[in-house]
Subunit: 167 residues, 2 copies
Amino acid sequence: MSQRAIRIIGLDPGLRHAGWGIIDSIGNNLVYVADGVVRAEPKLSLAEKLHFIHSALTRIVAEFNPAEAAIEETFVSKDARATLKLGQARGVAILVPAAAGIPVAEYAPNTIKKSVVGVGHADKDQVHHMVKVLLPKAKAASADAADALAIAICHAHHRSSWLRLRA
Amino acid sequence: MSQRAIRIIGLDPGLRHAGWGIIDSIGNNLVYVADGVVRAEPKLSLAEKLHFIHSALTRIVAEFNPAEAAIEETFVSKDARATLKLGQARGVAILVPAAAGIPVAEYAPNTIKKSVVGVGHADKDQVHHMVKVLLPKAKAASADAADALAIAICHAHHRSSWLRLRA
């Protein structure tokens, strides 16, 4: 029996760097498709940065046509200004799949780490190392792109229960 | 000499209620055009809410075709979760004019109050009262719509210095 490939995009948004990573989940196998980082010029205004991130992610979604999207449940920091900035970038990043009719799953940071490394308290280096082990062909061009791939891997592992919860 | 009308949209974003208000600034005169509130159903997911707000505001901008947009510099609360939610709604609201090529000005809450009421420590009721005085034809359907009109009025008063700063 041939198994259908489910294409997943993971998103790791930020106002300056928005990471994205795309994999195909085929049965129990994961196949790397693409990853990258959208970088907004620091000199741009807030409105211009948001527009730039939105346009770039919209092009990526149109090019790779994922069926499902996943994003980290944001770490809420004590720095309210940083939280507001991240919220703005996150809103625009979530909007992109939503506007394309693609459902968006959210995962807690520890769920993502546990899904990729096996433990919830793994550090960033362990996560990035395991992303390369699980997806040997991944460029994982930067930490943001590797994080986005980790989010996509997490969704591949959890999507059946996520689908049941949505039903 | 006839003076050109500058159409301004004020935005007061939130995840459940996003207020908007449109005025024409003609020399020293302000003319009310329209206002309203975009309400996202509470039962929608975050992604669906953001998509709904984005679609509704995009239609409003396309219908009224403002030349400039204004938004409040967000009050950063101690409640990090509330700040994150507001940030997400704000990112999507700022994106709408930015994607249409409309510049977006930001004003501190006290600047908006001072511009409408004359003092920076005015309360909400005073602001809403003065919005009705300055724009007698305004529906100001709700507090969020009245706030959005106040932001547009503030921009009408400050746009010449804002234009000089941008030049």
